[in-house]
């Protein structure tokens, strides 16, 4: 078998979750299982949003995620879910952005039924830009809420804000376009989790957008992190490109906000 395990640098899962979800059964929704499996397979740290925050209560769910980051420092980071329907969302998020382990803001335009280009997202995007944190958004080709073209528009409006297109747009027939959009917008990145991505498409994303624009993610616990990591491990990428995808790019974007437990000095 072609083994590609000679990875230099950290392995950072840029897109994770914890918690249960109403639409289907998730056998392992807890942070403990996720941290244990990640340890076994070599994922150093994962950034999560809590599914309570995604699904119905951003304020409560974000606190749940922060508690998990406190429980597993350097193993779990937090994407704070930003709810565009809450006119009072900015102030608590501003405070929470200063809490240990917070990576940035997470947008779920489809779940919140609010287009990412909608004015209600503007204060939240301005908050992220002012705080110097990236924004990870669900991205879904042809969605009226989160099409990669709309995320590119957000990147244009906020040229200093790193915008991560979650799932690289999700559907195979949109991957090539998403990669070209990333190539054309210096602050637009592709995060790759999703059941439709194959190693073949990952290799194409890297070829079109550049290895410095593609970030490893798993969508745990919706999806099993072993599946997401396997795609990058088995992809036909150079060691240098693989290291960028697996963690180099995330480390660069997160900067001082990133703590990795396995790299801390005892």
């Amino acid at each position: 078998m072609s083994r590609t395990t000679d990875v230099r640098g950290p392995v950072i899962d840029a897109h994770g979750h914890v918690g249960g979800w109403a639409d289907f059964f998730v056998p392992e929704p807890d942070a403990t299982w996720l941290v244990d499996v990640n340890t076994e397979i070599g994922i150093d740290v994962v950034g999560v949003s809590h599914l309570v925050a995604v699904g119905r209560d951003a304020a409560a769910g974000n606190e749940l995620a922060l508690a998990e980051a406190e429980r597993y420092p350097g193993r779990i980071g937090v994407w704070l879910v930003a709810d565009p329907h809450r006119p009072d969302a900015v102030a608590p998020l501003r405070d929470q952005l200063e809490r240990p382990g917070v990576w940035g803001l997470k947008l779920h335009p489809d779940t919140h039924e609010c287009a990412v280009t909608d004015p209600r997202y503007e204060p939240l995007l301005e908050l992220a830009a002012a705080a110097g944190v990236p924004v990870l958004s669900h991205g879904q080709t042809r969605s009226p809420y989160s099409d990669p073209g709309d995320l590119a528009e957000v990147a244009r409006r906020h040229s200093t804000l790193p915008v991560l297109v979650g799932h690289a747009g999700l559907w195979q027939d949109g991957f090539d376009r998403a990669a070209r959009l990333a190539a054309a917008h210096p602050n637009l990145y592709l995060e790759i989790c999703g059941s439709r991505l194959t190693t073949r498409w990952l290799e194409r994303l890297v070829a079109v957008a550049g290895a410095d624009r593609v970030l490893f993610g798993t969508d745990a616990c919706f999806l099993d992190p072993r599946l997401g990591l396997g795609k990058v491990r088995h992809a036909r990428l150079s060691d240098a490109d693989r290291a960028l995808v697996l963690g180099g790019n995330a480390a660069r974007l997160l900067g001082r906000r990133l703590t990795i437990a396995s790299q801390e000095t005892p």
Binding site: V37, S195, R200, H234
Partner: protein, 241 residues
């Protein structure tokens, strides 16, 4: 540990340019992923009409051909009758009731399934295409027929566990059981002997399931069943419990 992919497609597929468009490319893919052998459906059987296209499957010692059959009134399907399938004795056949527009539990098809069950020839059905309700209806109507459920996805674990519990002749391919911990959970529910490693490549991802196989949190004996043993038992015609 022997690793056998029970679900691969050989030949060109719409919407992508794939290495497994030909036999040589498929073998390179299997080597890349450390997969010893595969059950292979010809893409013309899936994306063409078996009534008009039914050339022989790939011949190679590492591959097990899985022809796509089409039970229909004479002249509209392939082959002409189920006896031809029994005579050919394939390790497994595949059928596409939605794609090819035939009634999976209609009177014509039911006669075929009874004959295949008597000959211990298993049937593969793509749940992504046919849906679990059709699989359940077939398993209820012909309980002695062994059915391998392909590509069930990760959102129907509750239904899958119930299906496996009620129908001992049903097996499930693991490649798209992508929810966190889904393979281990279903193995505990139904037994690893009911789970069959398969990927659905190149349409579905093969790298993730292959990597996961090396990192399952199950006893070695269970992993070996999933990796190859369950499919070997399925094709060998071992009777349902």
């Amino acid at each position: 540990m022997r690793i056998f992919d029970a679900h691969r497609v050989l030949g060109p597929v719409p919407g992508d340019h794939v290495p497994s468009a030909d036999l040589a490319g498929l073998l390179v893919e299997l080597d890349h992923f450390g997969i010893d052998g595969a059950a292979v459906t010809p893409s013309h059987g899936l994306y063409g009409d078996p009534a008009h296209e039914h050339t022989a499957g790939a011949g190679h010692e590492r591959l097990v051909p899985v022809p796509v059959i089409l039970p229909a009134v004479p002249g509209a399907g392939w082959p002409d009758d189920p006896g031809a399938v029994v005579d050919a004795a394939p390790a497994m056949v595949r059928a596409c009731p939605v794609r090819h527009r035939f009634a999976l539990t209609g009177p014509v098809a039911l006669r075929w399934w009874h004959e295949l069950a008597a000959a211990a020839i298993p049937l593969a059905l793509d749940a992504h295409e046919a849906g679990l309700d059709r699989v359940r209806a077939l398993a209820t109507a012909v309980p002695q027929l062994r059915v391998l459920v392909l590509s069930p996805g990760y959102r129907c674990l509750r239904e899958l566990a119930e299906l496996l519990g009620a129908h001992p002749g049903v097996y499930v391919e693991t490649g798209t059981l992508a929810a966190a911990g889904a393979v281990e959970w279903l193995a505990k529910q139904a037994g690893a002997h009911r789970l069959v490693f398969g990927t659905g490549a190149p349409v579905w991802d093969d790298a993730g399931p292959r990597f996961q196989l090396d990192h399952l949190r199950l006893p070695d004996a269970d992993v070996e069943l999933i990796a190859a043993g369950s499919f070997a038992a399925l094709r060998a015609g071992e009777a349902p419990e």
